[in-house]
């Protein structure tokens, strides 16, 4: 496979849901534009951090990238192959390349199964990948790789701590030797002392297996420690995208600036620092996104044009490959 073909690519992804007919607020049926035109590429062995607040469409985008949901428009390509055009048997095979690590290690593991059974299960489903007698040894090796004692392989989830459970979830995601892990808030349920262990585990596994991650999180400080590139989502769109250091040190979109400014800083000497931005109001509902730039209702730089004209992403800069969708970006 040539290097210039991205491992994973999303082109013009759109997902609109028709909401139910509950007569809430007098409206009957509304269209929720959960994902509204997203382009993304994921390079081999790299990590794309996807940040945004609740309702921004991160989870819907995850489902689309994993071909768990059909987009309203657009395509998802893995190594240049359009997932949506694949016959179902081949899609099934392709799915092995993209595996999911879920947020909550308390509800995403079957309490009646042992750690070994949980990690082995994907192999029993994708039976042609590995002969039966090799599956248990491989599952044990995976448990060892994620830092669990293989002697605990026959324990049940409740006998493990939260961090250990998340390690089981990671071992399960690795069972089919995927190329991509989609990690949906994988450390947000963990305590800070344990969170750092799991973040470091993700980085070790990446170095060892050349894995690529789509790392979805609301915590910008966490994402900074794992991502090579960052995409910031707001109401179904990516408003800024670029190399990590570029986006974090010189955010161009006002929303990115506001997000970064809102992250609590664990250093009391920075208290009352100038330039802190506290946004007013809540993110608008995706059933009725504002016209023009979706952020203009909360943006302190908003001008008339922002309310009428939807900004298109700029061409990537040579320095930091930054793209921003804003009429008046920061320089």
């Amino acid at each position: 496979m040539p290097d210039d073909v991205p491992l994973l690519e999303a082109r013009g992804l759109v997902k609109h849901y028709r909401s139910g007919s509950l007569p809430v607020g007098g409206r009957r049926r509304a269209t929720v534009k959960a994902v509204d035109g997203v382009d993304l590429t994921l390079r081999r062995g790299s990590t794309l951090g996807l940040v945004g607040e609740s309702g921004c469409g991160k989870s819907t985008l995850t489902r689309l990238l994993m071909a768990l949901d059909r987009p309203t428009a657009g395509t998802v390509l893995v190594e240049g192959q359009d997932l949506l055009a694949l016959p179902s048997a081949e899609l099934r095979r392709r799915r092995r390349d993209i595996q999911l690590v879920m947020q909550d290690p308390y509800t995403s593991l079957d309490p009646r199964m042992t750690a070994l059974e949980i990690v082995r299960e994907p192999l029993d489903i994708h039976r042609d990948l590995m002969p039966k007698q090799e599956r248990a040894p491989w599952a044990r090796e995976l448990l060892h790789m994620v830092g669990l004692d293989p002697g605990h392989a026959h324990r049940h989830p409740h006998q493990f701590s939260g961090g250990q459970r998340q390690r089981i979830g990671i071992a399960r995601a690795l069972a089919l030797r995927p190329k991509i892990l989609v990690c949906d808030e994988p450390v947000s349920a963990l305590d800070v002392s344990v969170q750092a262990q799991v973040i470091n585990l993700f980085k070790e596994l990446q170095r060892e297996f050349g894995l690529a991650y789509v790392f979805i999180a609301h915590d910008l400080a966490v994402v900074r420690h794992v991502a090579d590139e960052v995409a910031v989502m707001y109401l179904g769109r990516i408003v800024e995208h670029g190399d990590r250091d570029t986006v974090y040190s010189r955010p161009a979109h006002p929303y990115t600036r506001a997000l970064l400014s809102a992250v609590p800083d664990p250093d009391p000497s920075h208290r009352g620092a100038t330039g802190r931005i506290v946004l007013q109001g809540d993110p608008p509902s995706p059933t009725r996104p504002p016209s023009g730039c979706a952020f203009h209702t909360r943006c302190w730089k908003s001008q008339e044009r922002c309310g009428t004209e939807r900004p298109v992403p700029t061409a990537p800069t040579t320095d930091g490959r930054r793209q921003v969708s804003c009429h008046f970006p920061e320089n």
């Binding site: 607040e53 002392s193 470091n200 910008l220 966490v222 506290v278």
Partner: protein
């Protein structure tokens, strides 16, 4: 200090109990213990002798990971633990009055009026079948016996004060019609309705998005400033505490391991656990590739090690740590630390 004698006198005005001592500390918690009762008799201690003092107009943060006992300590102080399932020991004096020995009706009169609480999850703390305005007004009526009209006017005023847009109209809305951030504002309005001098906020922003969290923390700080009340902030977030607190207490396994003025604690942690937390927390600045975790995980309540509860995870552990539990002792000028071998804190960082 002598144990104040408590007389149940329902006709005495609840805001000036006879045993109130104006010179006593605002809130003084001593040797607080909580045991979770079990039918089999194997009661489990989850809070092991926690002591702290909250001074006038001060913000004290209790920081701890899950299971550290921070929330249950606050619930105990608020008298919110059901006696059938939890036994509370020690004392929690509010201006000299021990809340833990108050008869329930006296405590009820004091709660809300002098000490109020903001909970993490506003959706489950509010009654979904009643309008938010009614719930705020009811709080005022229950304690102050004012008429419906006055209670209503004050509720609308409170909603405006916590910056709910168009409060007179929104008075009639139900909790589900508000966003998470707006619901938390309603909770805060209820908590400050009676002008308490102590506000306990238990993870008040954990369920909220980061931009909304910033708004709520700003509101809490402003209200604390305006009303001159004191704030006990319970959080797992080192960042939130750094931005809000005057003093910080670090909790672990049902104990306070270290307590100090905020800047001192963050600049020069004396307890290895505090140092470990500060090294493990992801930051927006500094080296992006280096996070230093603390090995292992916090102990469950039934699985406490002997000696110092942190010793199995401590990089500086020595023989004595495995057998003898360190006491929380003063480390001048203004620090308390529970460690046999605390880190050097004198001198520059």
């Amino acid at each position: 200090m002598d144990h104040p004698t408590v007389k149940a006198t329902p006709d005495s005005p609840p805001d000036s109990p006879p045993d109130t001592q104006p010179d006593a500390p605002l809130l003084d918690v001593r040797d607080l213990t909580v045991d979770i009762l079990s039918r089999s008799g194997a009661d489990q201690r989850v809070v092991h002798g926690v002591s702290f003092t909250l001074h006038e107009e001060e913000t004290l943060a209790l920081i701890g990971e899950s299971g550290s006992g921070k929330s249950i300590s606050a619930m105990a102080v608020m008298g919110l633990l059901p006696p059938a399932t939890a036994r509370v020991g020690g004392s929690a004096r509010h201006r000299g009055t021990d809340l833990l020995t108050l008869p329930p009706d006296r405590f009820r009169a004091l709660r809300g009026k002098r000490i109020a609480m903001v909970f993490q999850d506003a959706l489950s703390a509010l009654n979904p079948t009643l309008t938010v305005g009614f719930q705020i007004a009811e709080t005022i009526r229950a304690h102050e016996g004012v008429g419906r009209r006055e209670a209503r006017a004050r509720a609308v005023e409170l909603m405006a004060r916590v910056r709910i847009p168009d409060p007179a109209r929104r008075y009639r809305d139900h909790p589900h019609q508000f966003s998470g951030g707006m619901r938390q504002r309603i909770m805060i309005a209820m908590a400050v309705a009676l002008g308490p001098d102590v506000l306990i906020a238990d993870e008040p922003t954990t369920a909220l998005d980061v931009t909304v969290q910033a708004q709520i923390m700003e509101l809490l700080a402003e209200l604390r400033e305006e009303t001159g009340s004191a704030l006990l902030l319970i959080t797992h977030d080192l960042g939130l505490a750094a931005g809000t607190a005057d003093r910080v207490a670090i909790m672990y396994a049902g104990r306070i391991l270290e307590q100090a003025p905020v800047q001192e604690l963050y600049d020069r942690p004396a307890h290895p656990y505090t140092r470990g937390l500060l090294a493990a927390v992801p930051r927006l600045g500094g080296d992006a590739d280096d996070l230093t975790p603390i090995p292992g995980s916090p102990p469950g309540p039934g699985l406490l090690p002997a000696g110092c509860p942190f010793h199995p995870r401590c990089p500086d552990v020595r023989e004595r740590c495995t057998t003898q539990e360190p006491m929380l002792l003063p480390a001048p000028p203004a620090r308390l630390v529970a460690c046999h071998y605390p880190l050097e804190v004198s001198g520059a960082r």
